[in-house]
Symmetry: C2
Subunit: 535 residues, 2 copies
């Protein structure tokens, strides 16, 4: 298991940045890190104290019956203002908390959720569902002023595995369960959900479902969607519970309407999830390539081979260099195979043959030893959000964006981002900066490229600078037939790209479904759907 299992309580969580307070870099570490980015600030931005005066006035008070579930404490409001995008971190560090919710609600039962929605519907109060707040797309941040107030609906108290069906290998799990808490409850049964997004420690099942999250398995079951047997969703017009089914052809899938609905159609309170046995056989290897396009061809061959590696992550030369797994400008492919049932060495051998056929130089890992580049990269991977925060404090513009497109469009997209977007970065920041790429997931018909941008920013303008770069990035994705997001959801930040990408009749149907399920328009307004759209 690549992840630690911290307590599921929010004690020790950073209010402004990623994860645990005690894992954040010190001022001195921030300064040292900043020196690696030419043009970064000399000293870190200070982390502001959370105090009442910085927060806007509370506009709405809960009715007596709901008051015990609600808090307007400054730290609660501040920590529920933003997600964890770069621009969120910057704004929190700047002390800009104008978007803070009026109240944070923490339901302990599904009936509490029902009661809260009833009240909010009647009172015209916006409800923004909040799992663990790891959104990087403005998914948990209310914008605008068309509601009487805003409640952040924090589901973290609904964190139990309620039932396990060992025979069918499925479990009924509450939406507020964090990754580690959920796995802790499944482990005694020898089972696992095997859904490990990078945010695993600080994100919840409900958040994964509402945003169609991607786990760290590279092939086959990548998005959480495929692990869903049934959903239970509280909507303003009633509770929606689908039948537990291994497969069905009865009309359009009810679950697929709510998967990816990002809190706009209802609040997911629990789900029956398909589980797997814990893998007993594992093998991994890394493969170096001198040419990044040859490496991409190798990955395509792997993705189309039917060998279904659990891990198949391609790091381009910049990404591999930054992670410290290649020193001479090589691209690095990290391959891993796993099985609960059968030895996997044969499969790894076949994968390495494919890689070799495309010019790769494999380095298999000896059984029982740490697997070199794969482990090095994985530690870096889990550390990344903390490094990102540290760089943010050094006024470095540093953010990621991910996409997916067909294999035939991939080389041009890669070059366009490395070329056109690099020009934009230079224009905006005045420095060359760095744009790296990795493939996080691969499919027979295309990969999910994930780009990282790092460039020095001007203190006070960092968020605006990133917004300009991001807008150009969305344009490039659109021009190259690539999705605005592969697994980070749409939220509010991706809506311009999403509005262009989504077919218009579907948009009309989605708005109609929204009006039918949420007639008062209180559910996460501004996410997915422009609330000002007529019709």
């Amino acid at each position: 298991m690549p992840y630690a299992s911290p307590s599921s309580s929010s004690t020790g969580r950073s209010w402004w940045g990623w994860g645990a307070v005690d894992k954040a870099l010190s001022d001195a570490e921030c300064a040292a890190l900043g020196q690696l980015v030419p043009g970064a600030a000399d000293t870190p931005r200070p982390v502001p104290e959370v105090s009442a005066p910085a927060l806007p006035k509370v506009r709405v008070e809960p009715p007596a019956a709901l008051a015990p579930l609600m808090s307007a404490a400054p730290r609660d409001r501040a920590s529920h203002t933003y997600g964890k995008a770069y621009r969120d971190v910057i704004r929190a560090l700047s002390g800009d908390l104008a978007a803070a919710p009026d109240q944070v609600a923490r339901p302990r039962t599904e009936q509490h959720v029902v009661d809260l929605l009833d009240w909010a519907t009647g009172a015209g109060v916006a409800v923004v569902p909040y799992g663990a707040g790891s959104s990087v797309v403005g998914g948990v941040e209310y914008r605008g002023d068309s509601h009487r107030g805003v409640v952040s609906l924090d589901l973290s108290a609904l964190d139990q595995v309620l039932e396990i069906d060992r025979v069918s290998r499925a479990a009924r799990i509450q939406a507020g369960a964090l990754g580690p808490a959920l796995e802790d409850q499944l482990r005694p049964h020898g089972l696992t959900l095997r859904h490990f997004p990078q945010s695993f420690e600080f994100s919840t099942l409900g958040g994964w479902l509402a945003t169609r999250a991607g786990g760290h398995y590279a092939t086959l079951y990548t998005h959480v969607d495929d692990l869903v047997e049934s959903l239970r969703v509280v909507t303003p017009i009633g509770v929606n519970e689908s039948l537990r089914l291994p497969g069905s052809g009865a009309g359009p899938s009810p679950d697929r309407l709510f998967l990816g609905s990002e809190g706009t159609l209802g609040i997911i309170t629990e789900a029956w999830m398909r589980l797997q046995e814990r893998p007993r056989h594992k093998a991994s290897a890394t493969v170096l390539f001198d040419d990044v396009h040859a490496a991409m061809d190798a990955v395509r061959a792997v993705a189309q081979s039917g060998l279904h590696p659990a891990n198949c992550r391609l790091l381009d030369p910049g990404e591999a260099g930054l992670a410290g797994v290649a020193r001479r400008g090589e691209s690095v492919l990290v391959l891993g195979v796993e099985s609960a049932h059968s030895p996997v060495d044969g499969r790894l051998t076949e994968l390495l043959t494919l890689a070799r056929d495309h010019g790769g130089s494999p380095t298999p890992t000896k059984p029982g030893t740490p697997d070199g580049a794969a482990d090095t990269w994985r530690s870096a991977f889990l550390r990344m959000p903390y490094l990102r925060d540290a760089l943010a404090r050094m006024s470095v513009v540093t953010e990621t964006f991910e996409t997916a497109c067909t294999w035939s469009l991939t080389p041009e997209l890669y070059e366009a981002v490395r070329g056109q977007l690099a020009d934009v970065v230079k224009e905006v920041t005045g420095a060359a900066g760095m744009i790296n790429c990795r493939f996080t997931h691969v499919y027979p018909d295309g990969p999910a490229p994930y780009f990282t941008v790092i460039a020095p920013g001007r203190r006070g303008s960092e968020a605006a600078m990133w917004d300009e770069i991001k807008s150009a990035a969305m344009g490039i994705l659109h021009d190259h037939g690539a999705t605005v997001t592969h697994h980070h959801a749409v939220g509010r930040d991706h809506r311009p790209g999403y509005d262009r990408q989504r077919p218009e009749p579907f948009a009309v149907a989605l708005r109609a479904a929204k009006r039918a399920l949420d007639p008062a328009g209180i559910l996460n307004p501004g996410v997915l759907i422009d609330p000002t759209t007529a019709g």
Copy 2:
């Protein structure tokens, strides 16, 4: 390839029954077959001639611009009246063509489809999409009288593979392509869609997509849904085209709203479909079990093993006996593994070990020889619809229904159908009849059981008798948490079961989406959604 590749033209197609006229059983063969069912009629129902007097008056004429696409010829109207359910065949044989459409339209371009919907929307004429008419759930049969007329929209002229993206292994295919025509066009490229429903020869890509059809692969990619990269759908408010994407997390999947919409939200005109290389390695075996529940446990172990057999079909003792693959009351498991890339013998060995662990007696097939029970069963499988028609002519009540449920509910469901439904069959027909079961698809969390009912009927009452049995079957499925359909869609016949099964808020959302996309309510009215439902 288990399938012949007949011409894609409709020449030689039966107007009243399954498939090709020249494959239907002769009167003498029907009579001989009938003798196997105690209580069957002595002589076959005659096949009526199609003549104008039997058809209702044509109520609506097309405008001049569309007239060249339309036909009101008796044979066209008769052959587009029903699908191919047992009750459809019986009614056609009875000469009951009251539900015949007024016109059959055969668009040759997408613009024709647009123009037809525009006209129908203005004229208040119902449009019933028609691929190749293999619906077994009343999906292509208009019922009611709330429209000025009915047009059957036959898409069979849109039958081309328009584009192939070899690198991304995908093809843009028109919705009216029949299975064999589609595969014929892909074969020169070494590619295949590998979607082989039982109806393969007589059903179309568009029909598969609109009904979430199931192919004959038992695991992994069972429903056609997973093979879809993007869809193009003509709705009354505009054309909906999704981006070609290997994966995406941008909002609820637009394609998943149209997959399974059964022509109620729009007309699918083409799709980018994910292809596969043709398998080069194959191995198969059959396993006999003395106890059907032990066999189910073995199948569950296989489904949860991650070994992904291409074929994993369990025949219960009755089904195995009927197909002639077991003589002494055994259950038979047919296993097959395939790969385009790697030898599969190791996988088959692992599967057989699992089967043996659960009390099975495997019979592996020698390479290069026909695989015994598997081949015998496959021939029977493809012959089944013709035998069904022959039995129908002998006034035997003979029909199938399929479902899916979790493994934990499966044994009780199986016993309930074999017990309670057998009682109903006896009550309705006065004879013990026969209820057999096979698993057509299996998932880690449950199987898709497929039941066949055979019992003698009373001439003139066969459809009513089946309706009574079917209604009881739907009740049993509902009581056991099983879906009303795994891969035969909802249509009009399954709506009572679907209405009970579908969560109400989703129903509200679906109706809202329908009203938004099809404001005049012309698209396949009565399918999925009760047109009289308020709200």
